[in-house]
Symmetry: C2
Subunit: 255 residues, 2 copies
Protein backbone atom coordinates (compact mmCIF):
# COMPACT_ATOMS: atom_id res chain seq x y z
CA UNK A 1 0.00 0.00 0.00
CA UNK A 2 2.11 2.78 -1.26
CA UNK A 3 1.33 5.86 -3.25
CA UNK A 4 -2.12 5.07 -4.52
CA UNK A 5 -5.02 5.40 -2.16
CA UNK A 6 -6.59 2.10 -3.00
CA UNK A 7 -6.59 0.21 0.28
CA UNK A 8 -8.43 0.43 3.57
CA UNK A 9 -6.63 3.56 4.67
CA UNK A 10 -7.48 5.21 1.38
CA UNK A 11 -11.15 4.49 1.70
CA UNK A 12 -11.11 5.78 5.22
CA UNK A 13 -9.43 8.96 4.06
CA UNK A 14 -11.98 9.47 1.31
CA UNK A 15 -14.84 8.90 3.71
CA UNK A 16 -13.50 11.49 6.11
CA UNK A 17 -12.98 13.92 3.30
CA UNK A 18 -16.47 13.44 2.02
CA UNK A 19 -17.81 13.83 5.53
CA UNK A 20 -15.93 17.04 5.99
CA UNK A 21 -17.19 18.44 2.73
CA UNK A 22 -20.73 17.42 3.50
CA UNK A 23 -20.64 19.05 6.91
CA UNK A 24 -19.03 22.15 5.53
CA UNK A 25 -21.56 22.56 2.77
CA UNK A 26 -24.43 21.95 5.14
CA UNK A 27 -23.33 24.84 7.28
CA UNK A 28 -23.30 26.96 4.17
CA UNK A 29 -26.80 26.07 3.09
CA UNK A 30 -29.39 28.53 4.28
CA UNK A 31 -31.49 27.31 7.17
CA UNK A 32 -35.01 28.31 8.10
CA UNK A 33 -35.89 30.03 11.32
CA UNK A 34 -37.93 27.66 13.51
CA UNK A 35 -40.66 28.97 15.74
CA UNK A 36 -43.41 27.59 17.94
CA UNK A 37 -46.95 28.93 17.66
CA UNK A 38 -49.48 28.31 20.40
CA UNK A 39 -53.22 27.83 20.11
CA UNK A 40 -54.28 28.29 23.73
CA UNK A 41 -57.88 27.37 24.43
CA UNK A 42 -60.06 27.85 27.45
CA UNK A 43 -63.78 27.67 28.20
CA UNK A 44 -65.40 30.43 30.22
CA UNK A 45 -69.13 30.95 30.53
CA UNK A 46 -69.77 27.98 28.25
CA UNK A 47 -67.83 29.68 25.46
CA UNK A 48 -64.67 28.43 23.77
CA UNK A 49 -61.98 31.08 23.68
CA UNK A 50 -58.53 31.34 22.19
CA UNK A 51 -55.64 33.48 23.37
CA UNK A 52 -54.52 36.20 20.94
CA UNK A 53 -51.75 38.77 21.15
CA UNK A 54 -51.60 42.06 19.30
CA UNK A 55 -48.52 42.51 17.13
CA UNK A 56 -46.51 45.57 17.99
CA UNK A 57 -44.21 45.38 14.98
CA UNK A 58 -44.45 44.70 11.27
CA UNK A 59 -45.36 42.59 9.48
CA UNK A 60 -49.05 42.56 10.38
CA UNK A 61 -48.44 45.37 12.85
CA UNK A 62 -51.53 45.89 14.98
CA UNK A 63 -53.13 42.62 13.88
CA UNK A 64 -54.06 39.90 16.29
CA UNK A 65 -51.96 36.76 16.16
CA UNK A 66 -51.36 33.52 17.98
CA UNK A 67 -48.64 33.77 20.62
CA UNK A 68 -45.33 32.22 19.73
CA UNK A 69 -41.63 32.69 19.45
CA UNK A 70 -38.34 31.37 18.24
CA UNK A 71 -36.85 28.08 19.30
CA UNK A 72 -33.54 28.80 21.01
CA UNK A 73 -30.89 26.96 19.09
CA UNK A 74 -27.29 26.52 20.12
CA UNK A 75 -24.51 26.05 17.63
CA UNK A 76 -21.89 24.63 19.94
CA UNK A 77 -20.99 20.98 19.49
CA UNK A 78 -22.18 20.03 22.96
CA UNK A 79 -24.89 22.63 23.39
CA UNK A 80 -27.59 22.52 20.74
CA UNK A 81 -30.12 24.59 22.71
CA UNK A 82 -33.64 23.83 23.93
CA UNK A 83 -35.97 21.22 22.47
CA UNK A 84 -38.94 22.32 20.41
CA UNK A 85 -41.21 21.00 23.16
CA UNK A 86 -39.31 23.05 25.73
CA UNK A 87 -39.67 26.13 23.57
CA UNK A 88 -43.43 25.59 23.49
CA UNK A 89 -43.57 25.18 27.28
CA UNK A 90 -41.43 28.26 27.77
CA UNK A 91 -43.53 30.40 25.44
CA UNK A 92 -46.72 29.17 27.07
CA UNK A 93 -45.44 30.16 30.49
CA UNK A 94 -44.18 33.51 29.23
CA UNK A 95 -47.37 34.43 27.41
CA UNK A 96 -49.81 33.29 30.08
CA UNK A 97 -47.82 33.87 33.26
CA UNK A 98 -48.99 30.46 34.43
CA UNK A 99 -46.38 28.14 35.94
CA UNK A 100 -44.75 25.68 33.60
CA UNK A 101 -46.54 22.37 33.44
CA UNK A 102 -49.83 23.67 34.79
CA UNK A 103 -51.58 23.37 31.41
CA UNK A 104 -52.07 20.60 28.93
CA UNK A 105 -49.81 21.07 25.91
CA UNK A 106 -49.64 18.94 22.80
CA UNK A 107 -47.92 19.27 19.46
CA UNK A 108 -50.41 20.00 16.70
CA UNK A 109 -48.85 20.29 13.26
CA UNK A 110 -45.90 21.88 11.52
CA UNK A 111 -46.49 24.66 9.02
CA UNK A 112 -43.70 25.08 6.53
CA UNK A 113 -44.82 26.80 3.35
CA UNK A 114 -42.46 29.40 1.95
CA UNK A 115 -43.77 32.93 2.23
CA UNK A 116 -45.53 32.35 5.57
CA UNK A 117 -43.44 35.17 6.94
CA UNK A 118 -42.40 37.81 4.41
CA UNK A 119 -39.17 38.59 6.24
CA UNK A 120 -37.46 35.25 6.11
CA UNK A 121 -38.14 31.55 5.77
CA UNK A 122 -39.91 30.37 8.92
CA UNK A 123 -40.98 26.84 9.77
CA UNK A 124 -43.44 26.88 12.63
CA UNK A 125 -44.24 23.97 14.90
CA UNK A 126 -47.73 24.63 16.22
CA UNK A 127 -48.96 23.38 19.60
CA UNK A 128 -52.31 23.59 21.28
CA UNK A 129 -52.77 24.18 24.99
CA UNK A 130 -55.79 23.84 27.24
CA UNK A 131 -56.21 26.21 30.18
CA UNK A 132 -58.75 25.25 32.81
CA UNK A 133 -61.63 27.61 33.49
CA UNK A 134 -60.33 28.64 36.91
CA UNK A 135 -56.89 29.60 35.56
CA UNK A 136 -58.14 31.56 32.57
CA UNK A 137 -58.78 34.83 34.45
CA UNK A 138 -55.21 34.82 35.79
CA UNK A 139 -53.72 34.91 32.32
CA UNK A 140 -53.85 38.61 31.56
CA UNK A 141 -52.63 39.55 35.02
CA UNK A 142 -48.91 39.57 34.37
CA UNK A 143 -48.93 40.94 30.86
CA UNK A 144 -49.78 44.10 28.99
CA UNK A 145 -53.56 43.86 29.11
CA UNK A 146 -54.12 45.76 25.86
CA UNK A 147 -51.92 43.35 23.93
CA UNK A 148 -53.42 40.05 25.10
CA UNK A 149 -56.99 38.87 24.94
CA UNK A 150 -59.23 35.85 25.15
CA UNK A 151 -61.21 35.87 21.91
CA UNK A 152 -64.40 33.90 21.49
CA UNK A 153 -63.84 31.30 18.79
CA UNK A 154 -67.46 31.26 17.73
CA UNK A 155 -68.12 34.97 17.45
CA UNK A 156 -65.27 37.36 18.05
CA UNK A 157 -62.44 35.83 16.09
CA UNK A 158 -62.34 37.27 12.63
CA UNK A 159 -60.31 34.53 11.04
CA UNK A 160 -59.27 36.40 7.95
CA UNK A 161 -57.80 39.19 10.02
CA UNK A 162 -55.41 36.96 11.93
CA UNK A 163 -51.75 37.53 11.10
CA UNK A 164 -49.69 35.18 8.91
CA UNK A 165 -51.41 31.82 8.34
CA UNK A 166 -52.72 31.76 11.88
CA UNK A 167 -56.32 31.31 10.75
CA UNK A 168 -55.30 28.00 9.18
CA UNK A 169 -53.44 26.98 12.35
CA UNK A 170 -56.48 27.82 14.45
CA UNK A 171 -58.73 25.75 12.20
CA UNK A 172 -56.34 22.82 12.41
CA UNK A 173 -56.35 23.08 16.20
CA UNK A 174 -60.14 23.22 16.34
CA UNK A 175 -60.45 20.12 14.18
CA UNK A 176 -57.95 18.33 16.37
CA UNK A 177 -59.55 19.05 19.73
CA UNK A 178 -63.03 18.33 18.41
CA UNK A 179 -61.81 14.98 17.16
CA UNK A 180 -59.95 14.10 20.35
CA UNK A 181 -62.80 15.09 22.63
CA UNK A 182 -64.59 11.76 22.23
CA UNK A 183 -61.72 9.34 22.66
CA UNK A 184 -59.33 11.10 25.01
CA UNK A 185 -59.67 12.81 28.37
CA UNK A 186 -58.73 16.31 27.18
CA UNK A 187 -62.07 17.78 28.32
CA UNK A 188 -60.91 17.40 31.93
CA UNK A 189 -58.13 19.88 31.15
CA UNK A 190 -60.72 22.58 30.50
CA UNK A 191 -62.54 22.37 33.82
CA UNK A 192 -61.27 23.04 37.36
CA UNK A 193 -59.73 20.26 39.38
CA UNK A 194 -63.16 19.43 40.76
CA UNK A 195 -66.24 19.86 38.64
CA UNK A 196 -69.90 18.95 38.29
CA UNK A 197 -71.33 16.93 35.44
CA UNK A 198 -73.03 20.04 34.12
CA UNK A 199 -69.72 21.91 34.07
CA UNK A 200 -68.01 19.13 32.19
CA UNK A 201 -70.88 18.98 29.73
CA UNK A 202 -70.64 22.72 29.20
CA UNK A 203 -66.98 22.24 28.23
CA UNK A 204 -67.93 19.55 25.72
CA UNK A 205 -70.67 21.76 24.30
CA UNK A 206 -68.36 24.75 24.02
CA UNK A 207 -65.75 22.79 22.09
CA UNK A 208 -68.22 21.04 19.79
CA UNK A 209 -70.40 24.09 19.37
CA UNK A 210 -73.64 22.19 19.94
CA UNK A 211 -75.81 21.23 22.88
CA UNK A 212 -75.74 17.70 24.21
CA UNK A 213 -78.52 15.70 25.82
CA UNK A 214 -77.93 16.02 29.55
CA UNK A 215 -79.28 12.56 30.36
CA UNK A 216 -77.16 10.78 27.78
CA UNK A 217 -74.08 12.72 28.78
CA UNK A 218 -74.67 11.68 32.36
CA UNK A 219 -74.82 8.06 31.27
CA UNK A 220 -71.46 8.29 29.50
CA UNK A 221 -70.18 9.94 32.64
CA UNK A 222 -71.45 7.04 34.73
CA UNK A 223 -69.38 4.75 32.56
CA UNK A 224 -66.24 6.75 33.34
CA UNK A 225 -67.12 6.57 37.03
CA UNK A 226 -67.48 2.81 36.83
CA UNK A 227 -64.15 2.57 35.02
CA UNK A 228 -62.44 4.54 37.77
CA UNK A 229 -61.49 7.33 35.38
CA UNK A 230 -63.22 9.83 37.60
CA UNK A 231 -64.24 9.74 41.24
CA UNK A 232 -66.52 11.71 43.49
CA UNK A 233 -64.90 14.53 45.43
CA UNK A 234 -66.02 15.88 48.79
CA UNK A 235 -68.47 18.76 48.88
CA UNK A 236 -71.20 20.00 46.59
CA UNK A 237 -71.48 22.84 44.09
CA UNK A 238 -73.98 25.41 45.34
CA UNK A 239 -74.22 27.62 42.27
CA UNK A 240 -77.73 26.61 41.24
CA UNK A 241 -81.03 25.81 42.87
CA UNK A 242 -80.15 22.25 43.70
CA UNK A 243 -76.57 21.55 44.79
CA UNK A 244 -74.77 19.14 42.48
CA UNK A 245 -72.25 16.43 43.25
CA UNK A 246 -68.62 17.26 42.59
CA UNK A 247 -66.16 14.94 40.86
CA UNK A 248 -62.50 14.91 39.94
CA UNK A 249 -60.41 13.25 37.27
CA UNK A 250 -58.70 10.34 38.98
CA UNK A 251 -55.45 10.38 37.02
CA UNK A 252 -54.80 14.06 37.05
CA UNK A 253 -51.75 15.60 38.56
CA UNK A 254 -52.78 17.69 41.59
CA UNK A 255 -51.24 21.04 40.56
Amino acid sequence: MGGKKGGKAGRQERAEERQFLEDYRRQQYPRPAVTVDLVVFTVVDADLKVLLVRRRDPPFQGSWALPGGFVRVGDAYDEQGESVDDAAHRELAEETGLPRGSCYLEQLYTFGKPGRDPRTRVVSVAYFALVSADKAPLVRAGTDAAAVRWASVGHEVNRSRLAFDHAEILDTALTRIRGKLDYSPIAFELVPLTFTIAELRAAYEAVRGEVLDAANFRRRFAGMLADGLIEQAPGRRLTSTKPAKVYRFAHRRPI
Copy 2:
Protein backbone atom coordinates in the same frame (compact mmCIF):
# COMPACT_ATOMS: atom_id res chain seq x y z
CA MET B 1 -42.01 68.89 17.77
CA GLY B 2 -38.40 69.84 17.86
CA GLY B 3 -35.39 68.10 19.28
CA LYS B 4 -37.04 65.42 21.37
CA LYS B 5 -38.44 62.39 19.57
CA GLY B 6 -41.76 62.43 21.32
CA GLY B 7 -44.25 62.78 18.48
CA LYS B 8 -45.62 60.56 15.80
CA ALA B 9 -42.51 60.73 13.65
CA GLY B 10 -40.40 59.81 16.62
CA ARG B 11 -42.44 56.75 17.41
CA GLN B 12 -42.27 55.69 13.79
CA GLU B 13 -38.52 56.08 13.81
CA ARG B 14 -38.15 54.03 16.95
CA ALA B 15 -40.37 51.31 15.55
CA GLU B 16 -38.28 51.06 12.40
CA GLU B 17 -35.12 51.01 14.41
CA ARG B 18 -36.40 48.29 16.65
CA GLN B 19 -37.57 46.34 13.63
CA PHE B 20 -34.17 46.63 12.02
CA LEU B 21 -32.41 45.48 15.14
CA GLU B 22 -34.78 42.62 15.57
CA ASP B 23 -34.33 41.45 12.01
CA TYR B 24 -30.58 41.87 12.25
CA ARG B 25 -30.28 39.91 15.44
CA ARG B 26 -32.53 37.19 14.11
CA GLN B 27 -30.19 36.63 11.21
CA GLN B 28 -27.37 36.34 13.69
CA TYR B 29 -29.10 33.79 15.86
CA PRO B 30 -28.16 30.23 15.02
CA ARG B 31 -30.85 28.32 13.17
CA PRO B 32 -31.45 24.60 13.13
CA ALA B 33 -31.20 22.47 10.05
CA VAL B 34 -34.66 21.21 9.06
CA THR B 35 -35.11 17.80 7.51
CA VAL B 36 -37.95 15.50 6.55
CA ASP B 37 -37.92 11.85 7.59
CA LEU B 38 -40.17 9.32 5.90
CA VAL B 39 -41.82 6.25 7.37
CA VAL B 40 -42.85 4.42 4.21
CA PHE B 41 -45.13 1.46 4.81
CA THR B 42 -46.37 -1.28 2.55
CA VAL B 43 -48.05 -4.64 2.99
CA VAL B 44 -46.76 -7.63 1.06
CA ASP B 45 -47.69 -11.22 1.79
CA ALA B 46 -49.88 -10.11 4.68
CA ASP B 47 -46.86 -8.55 6.35
CA LEU B 48 -46.37 -4.88 7.24
CA LYS B 49 -43.05 -3.57 6.00
CA VAL B 50 -41.17 -0.32 6.33
CA LEU B 51 -38.60 1.13 3.93
CA LEU B 52 -35.09 1.48 5.35
CA VAL B 53 -31.88 2.83 3.84
CA ARG B 54 -28.36 1.96 4.88
CA ARG B 55 -26.24 4.92 5.93
CA ARG B 56 -23.05 5.29 3.94
CA ASP B 57 -21.54 7.98 6.11
CA PRO B 58 -21.15 8.78 9.78
CA PRO B 59 -22.79 9.19 12.13
CA PHE B 60 -24.38 5.75 12.40
CA GLN B 61 -22.39 4.64 9.36
CA GLY B 62 -23.66 1.26 8.17
CA SER B 63 -26.80 1.42 10.29
CA TRP B 64 -30.27 1.27 8.85
CA ALA B 65 -32.28 4.44 8.96
CA LEU B 66 -35.48 5.97 7.70
CA PRO B 67 -35.09 7.77 4.37
CA GLY B 68 -35.05 11.53 4.53
CA GLY B 69 -33.23 14.67 3.61
CA PHE B 70 -32.90 18.38 4.03
CA VAL B 71 -35.62 20.86 3.23
CA ARG B 72 -34.33 23.18 0.53
CA VAL B 73 -34.46 26.67 1.89
CA GLY B 74 -33.90 29.86 -0.04
CA ASP B 75 -32.60 32.98 1.59
CA ALA B 76 -33.60 35.47 -1.07
CA TYR B 77 -36.38 37.87 -0.19
CA ASP B 78 -38.69 36.57 -2.90
CA GLU B 79 -37.46 32.98 -3.03
CA GLN B 80 -37.75 31.13 0.25
CA GLY B 81 -37.37 27.64 -1.24
CA GLU B 82 -39.63 24.58 -1.21
CA SER B 83 -42.35 23.89 1.35
CA VAL B 84 -41.80 21.18 3.94
CA ASP B 85 -44.59 19.17 2.29
CA ASP B 86 -42.86 19.51 -1.07
CA ALA B 87 -39.61 18.33 0.46
CA ALA B 88 -41.39 15.22 1.75
CA HIS B 89 -42.91 14.53 -1.67
CA ARG B 90 -39.57 15.06 -3.36
CA GLU B 91 -37.72 12.76 -0.97
CA LEU B 92 -40.41 10.13 -1.32
CA ALA B 93 -40.10 10.18 -5.10
CA GLU B 94 -36.31 10.15 -4.94
CA GLU B 95 -36.08 7.29 -2.46
CA THR B 96 -38.72 5.07 -4.03
CA GLY B 97 -38.46 5.97 -7.70
CA LEU B 98 -42.25 6.13 -7.79
CA PRO B 99 -43.83 9.11 -9.51
CA ARG B 100 -44.76 12.05 -7.33
CA GLY B 101 -48.29 11.85 -5.99
CA SER B 102 -48.68 8.13 -6.54
CA CYS B 103 -48.56 7.35 -2.82
CA TYR B 104 -50.46 8.56 0.19
CA LEU B 105 -48.35 10.95 2.25
CA GLU B 106 -49.26 12.61 5.54
CA GLN B 107 -47.37 14.64 8.07
CA LEU B 108 -46.77 12.66 11.25
CA TYR B 109 -44.95 14.61 13.94
CA THR B 110 -41.99 16.91 14.39
CA PHE B 111 -38.99 15.72 16.37
CA GLY B 112 -36.91 18.50 17.77
CA LYS B 113 -34.83 17.42 20.74
CA PRO B 114 -31.28 18.71 20.87
CA GLY B 115 -28.69 16.02 20.31
CA ARG B 116 -30.81 14.06 17.84
CA ASP B 117 -27.96 14.47 15.38
CA PRO B 118 -24.52 14.79 16.93
CA ARG B 119 -23.22 17.00 14.12
CA THR B 120 -25.58 19.93 14.39
CA ARG B 121 -28.99 20.93 15.61
CA VAL B 122 -31.58 19.21 13.42
CA VAL B 123 -35.35 19.56 13.62
CA SER B 124 -37.01 16.80 11.64
CA VAL B 125 -40.56 16.86 10.34
CA ALA B 126 -41.59 13.22 10.01
CA TYR B 127 -44.11 11.98 7.45
CA PHE B 128 -45.62 8.60 6.84
CA ALA B 129 -46.34 7.22 3.39
CA LEU B 130 -48.37 4.22 2.24
CA VAL B 131 -47.28 2.29 -0.83
CA SER B 132 -49.80 -0.09 -2.36
CA ALA B 133 -48.91 -3.75 -2.59
CA ASP B 134 -48.55 -3.69 -6.37
CA LYS B 135 -46.10 -0.77 -6.33
CA ALA B 136 -43.91 -2.10 -3.53
CA PRO B 137 -41.80 -4.42 -5.75
CA LEU B 138 -40.94 -1.50 -8.05
CA VAL B 139 -39.32 0.47 -5.28
CA ARG B 140 -35.85 -1.01 -5.24
CA ALA B 141 -35.57 -0.99 -9.02
CA GLY B 142 -34.09 2.46 -9.47
CA THR B 143 -31.82 2.53 -6.46
CA ASP B 144 -28.77 0.83 -5.09
CA ALA B 145 -30.32 -2.46 -4.06
CA ALA B 146 -27.89 -3.09 -1.22
CA ALA B 147 -28.70 0.24 0.40
CA VAL B 148 -32.51 0.04 0.41
CA ARG B 149 -34.75 -2.63 1.84
CA TRP B 150 -38.29 -3.40 2.92
CA ALA B 151 -37.99 -4.53 6.51
CA SER B 152 -40.74 -6.48 8.23
CA VAL B 153 -42.05 -4.36 11.09
CA GLY B 154 -43.04 -7.36 13.17
CA HIS B 155 -39.89 -9.42 12.92
CA GLU B 156 -36.94 -7.98 11.02
CA VAL B 157 -36.74 -4.45 12.32
CA ASN B 158 -34.40 -4.29 15.25
CA ARG B 159 -35.66 -1.06 16.67
CA SER B 160 -32.72 -0.30 18.90
CA ARG B 161 -30.35 -0.55 15.97
CA LEU B 162 -32.04 2.13 13.90
CA ALA B 163 -30.01 5.30 13.47
CA PHE B 164 -30.72 8.53 15.36
CA ASP B 165 -34.15 8.51 17.06
CA HIS B 166 -35.71 6.67 14.16
CA ALA B 167 -37.04 3.88 16.37
CA GLU B 168 -39.15 6.47 18.17
CA ILE B 169 -40.33 7.92 14.86
CA LEU B 170 -41.28 4.46 13.63
CA ASP B 171 -43.25 3.76 16.81
CA THR B 172 -45.08 7.06 16.47
CA ALA B 173 -45.98 6.21 12.88
CA LEU B 174 -47.21 2.75 13.85
CA THR B 175 -49.44 4.17 16.56
CA ARG B 176 -50.79 6.73 14.13
CA ILE B 177 -51.72 4.34 11.32
CA ARG B 178 -53.19 1.82 13.75
CA GLY B 179 -55.35 4.54 15.18
CA LYS B 180 -56.43 5.93 11.84
CA LEU B 181 -57.22 2.54 10.36
CA ASP B 182 -60.68 2.40 11.92
CA TYR B 183 -61.95 5.86 11.13
CA SER B 184 -60.26 6.81 7.87
CA PRO B 185 -59.85 5.13 4.51
CA ILE B 186 -56.08 4.75 4.65
CA ALA B 187 -56.27 0.96 4.29
CA PHE B 188 -57.27 1.43 0.65
CA GLU B 189 -53.87 3.02 0.06
CA LEU B 190 -52.18 -0.28 0.92
CA VAL B 191 -54.00 -2.48 -1.59
CA PRO B 192 -54.00 -2.32 -5.41
CA LEU B 193 -56.55 -0.18 -7.21
CA THR B 194 -58.88 -3.19 -7.31
CA PHE B 195 -58.96 -5.68 -4.49
CA THR B 196 -60.94 -8.47 -2.89
CA ILE B 197 -62.38 -8.34 0.59
CA ALA B 198 -59.81 -10.87 1.73
CA GLU B 199 -56.98 -8.71 0.43
CA LEU B 200 -58.30 -5.66 2.22
CA ARG B 201 -58.72 -7.65 5.39
CA ALA B 202 -55.14 -8.89 5.08
CA ALA B 203 -54.01 -5.26 4.98
CA TYR B 204 -55.98 -4.48 8.13
CA GLU B 205 -54.56 -7.55 9.85
CA ALA B 206 -51.01 -6.69 8.85
CA VAL B 207 -51.27 -3.17 10.24
CA ARG B 208 -52.99 -4.18 13.47
CA GLY B 209 -50.94 -7.29 13.95
CA GLU B 210 -53.92 -9.49 14.75
CA VAL B 211 -56.41 -11.61 12.86
CA LEU B 212 -59.92 -10.34 12.27
CA ASP B 213 -63.13 -12.29 12.00
CA ALA B 214 -63.75 -12.65 8.28
CA ALA B 215 -67.54 -12.57 8.59
CA ASN B 216 -67.62 -9.44 10.71
CA PHE B 217 -65.11 -7.71 8.47
CA ARG B 218 -67.31 -8.54 5.52
CA ARG B 219 -70.25 -6.93 7.26
CA ARG B 220 -68.35 -3.68 7.87
CA PHE B 221 -67.36 -3.88 4.24
CA ALA B 222 -71.00 -4.19 3.23
CA GLY B 223 -71.65 -0.97 5.07
CA MET B 224 -69.01 0.82 3.01
CA LEU B 225 -70.57 -0.61 -0.11
CA ALA B 226 -73.99 0.68 0.91
CA ASP B 227 -72.49 4.09 1.65
CA GLY B 228 -70.97 4.26 -1.82
CA LEU B 229 -67.47 4.41 -0.42
CA ILE B 230 -66.49 1.39 -2.46
CA GLU B 231 -68.01 -0.21 -5.52
CA GLN B 232 -67.72 -3.49 -7.32
CA ALA B 233 -65.22 -3.61 -10.17
CA PRO B 234 -65.40 -5.85 -13.24
CA GLY B 235 -63.73 -9.23 -13.15
CA ARG B 236 -62.91 -11.71 -10.43
CA ARG B 237 -59.74 -12.63 -8.56
CA LEU B 238 -58.70 -16.18 -9.51
CA THR B 239 -55.90 -16.69 -7.02
CA SER B 240 -57.71 -19.18 -4.79
CA THR B 241 -60.05 -22.10 -5.16
CA LYS B 242 -63.18 -20.04 -5.49
CA PRO B 243 -62.91 -16.78 -7.45
CA ALA B 244 -63.71 -13.69 -5.39
CA LYS B 245 -65.46 -10.50 -6.32
CA VAL B 246 -63.27 -7.49 -6.95
CA TYR B 247 -63.94 -3.98 -5.62
CA ARG B 248 -62.42 -0.54 -5.86
CA PHE B 249 -62.38 2.53 -3.68
CA ALA B 250 -64.87 4.93 -5.22
CA HIS B 251 -63.07 8.18 -4.39
CA ARG B 252 -59.59 7.17 -5.36
CA ARG B 253 -57.61 8.93 -8.02
CA PRO B 254 -57.01 6.51 -10.93
CA ILE B 255 -53.21 6.71 -11.10
